[in-house]
């Protein structure tokens, strides 16, 4: 009967809230109590290095394209040896929503998340991280990928010298 149901529906919430008042709250009392974060928690982003110690980021602009809040901006440049790298790389943590889409877009596993969430501060400009603030000297959560070893262009090895590549062809050879 709808009327009964409605009456019950109107009074039951009062009971629920009253009961909850005497339960123990679930709030974690940060900072006295430290939160237990899951292993893949997404917080402050870093730019990692490859196992050889070189910068992983090749400034492909994919993270900045993937970022839903447009908080990554960068400029690519070319080094002497043909390596493409980020001349500057700016990440605005005041805008970042820690969605991790940038890390998913990154083809070189350069940009990665860490569990360090304690970024709050009073000066928004301090939350604008430049490349030197983001770059770390380890591989992050992905220890063994080196993009330049998988591509055909000769940066870490001479052309045609990477695994799975044959040496450069002789274009003036007409043998069948």
């Amino acid at each position: 009967m709808p009327l009964l149901r409605d009456i019950k529906g109107s009074f039951q919430p009062f009971w629920v809230t009253l009961r909850n008042m005497f339960r123990k709250p679930v709030t974690v009392q940060y900072p006295e109590q430290r939160p237990e974060l899951p292993e893949r928690y997404r917080a402050r982003l870093i730019l990692t290095r490859d196992p050889d110690g070189a910068e992983r980021c090749v400034a492909c602009y994919l993270c900045s394209a993937a970022c839903p809040v447009d908080c990554i901006s960068l400029q690519a440049a070319e080094a002497e040896d043909g390596r493409r790298y980020a001349a500057w790389f700016r990440l605005n943590f005041a805008r970042c929503i820690f969605c991790g889409l940038c890390t998913e877009a990154c083809p070189t596993l350069a940009i990665q998340v860490t569990a360090d969430f304690e970024l709050a501060g009073r000066d928004p400009l301090k939350l604008v991280y430049e490349k030197e603030d983001l770059l770390v000297d380890h591989c992050g959560r992905q220890p063994d990928y080196n993009f330049y070893r998988q591509t055909g262009i000769g940066v870490t090895a001479p052309r045609g010298g990477n695994p799975g590549e044959s040496p450069p062809v002789d274009v003036k050879d007409l043998l069948p």
Binding site: S10, P13, V16, T17, L18, N20, M21, K24, P25, V26
Partner: protein, 330 residues
């Protein structure tokens, strides 16, 4: 001469006392509300300022006072500045007629524990509660913002609708007490509170004052989710604070009215009258908060339907029945 001076002194003392008590009550009501709501939602609520968060009202006050007092460029400046004061003032003024305890004997004089015992106290209350709506209406209009205006319009029509029912639900009380003076009404309930004698009137009045105080489930003038902040969207700093405090004062006043009209005012066994009065008012305040924690907001058409098609006819009917019963008893 000296007698008059003493009278004047007493009135002043009462005024200051009441003023202080009400303001601090309003301030701590805010804290209580936040904590109680938090607990209902399995949180702690504010617990950082002072022991157990007891200094939170002070912190809020400092925050509000130091914030920028912002007037929108296109606003009607004077009305905009005036409105919050109006809203807090009318709320405070209402308390003048509320008897909060039995008369005291001091210096051989009988001091009524009411600031001004008007013999038409009830009408005064009804009148002021109608004025209270101006603060909101002017504030919403003067802001020159669509959200504020919508909030104000909602508030106006809501108050008009519910004031009728509220007024009609007090008529049986007057009939039963045979007086408009609030003190007389309290005295008439020494044995049995009117809430038990006339439960329909009590319920209608209860619902109406929730609507009157613009709280969930009747908080359509503010409804953050759709109107940003309703009539006070454009207010900041202490001006917003005045609106805010006005609301909580209103809560206390309306609670007091409910106590006086239906719960027998200060009367009760063992404890002093004033204490009984405060206990009753606090209980009603808790009820307000509890409702807020448990109910969703009504839709606007539901609110109007309920006011005009249910509450008002019920209140009218109740007046007729009470009259008939009173006549029958003789």
């Amino acid at each position: 001469m000296t007698e008059q001076l003493i009278m004047l002194g007493l009135i002043l003392v009462k005024l200051l006392l009441v003023f202080g008590v009400i303001l601090s009550m309003a301030a701590y009501l805010v804290l209580a509300e936040r904590k109680i709501l938090a607990r209902m939602q399995l949180r702690y609520g504010p617990n950082r300022a002072g022991p157990g968060g007891m200094m939170q009202p002070m912190a809020d006050l400092i925050k509000l006072l130091t914030k920028e007092d912002f007037v929108p460029a296109q606003a009607d400046k004077w009305l905009f500045l005036l409105a919050p004061g109006l809203s807090a003032l009318t709320a405070l003024l209402t308390f003048a007629v509320i008897p909060f305890g039995p008369p005291l004997q001091i210096f051989g004089q009988t001091v009524p524990l009411v600031i001004c015992d008007l013999n038409i106290g009830l009408l005064y209350f009804l009148g002021l509660s109608s004025l209270a709506v101006y603060g909101m209406a002017l504030g919403g209009w003067a802001s020159n913002s669509k959200y504020s205006l919508l909030g104000a319009i909602r508030g106006l029509s809501q108050l008009i609708s519910y004031e009728l029912a509220m007024g009609l639900s007090v008529v049986p009380v007057v009939m039963m007490a045979r007086s408009f003076s609030l003190t007389e009404i309290v005295l008439a309930q020494q044995q049995i509170p009117f809430a038990l004698l006339n439960p329909p009137a009590f319920l209608i009045f209860l619902i109406s004052i929730v609507a009157e105080s613009k709280r969930i489930p009747f908080d359509l003038p503010e409804s953050e989710n759709e109107l940003v902040g309703g009539f006070h969207t454009e207010y900041s700093g202490m001006r917003f604070g005045l609106f805010f405090v006005g609301e909580y004062i209103n809560m206390v006043i309306l609670g007091s009215m409910l106590t006086v009209l239906f719960l027998g005012g200060w009367s009760g066994p063992w404890l002093p009258g004033v204490v009984w009065f405060i206990i009753k008012v606090l209980a009603i305040c808790f009820f307000f908060i509890w409702v807020r924690g448990s109910m969703p907001r009504l839709r606007y058409d539901q609110l109007m339907n309920f006011g005009w098609k249910v509450l008002l006819p019920l209140a009218l009917l109740n007046v007729l029945i009470t009259g008939a019963v009173l006549l029958w008893i003789g």
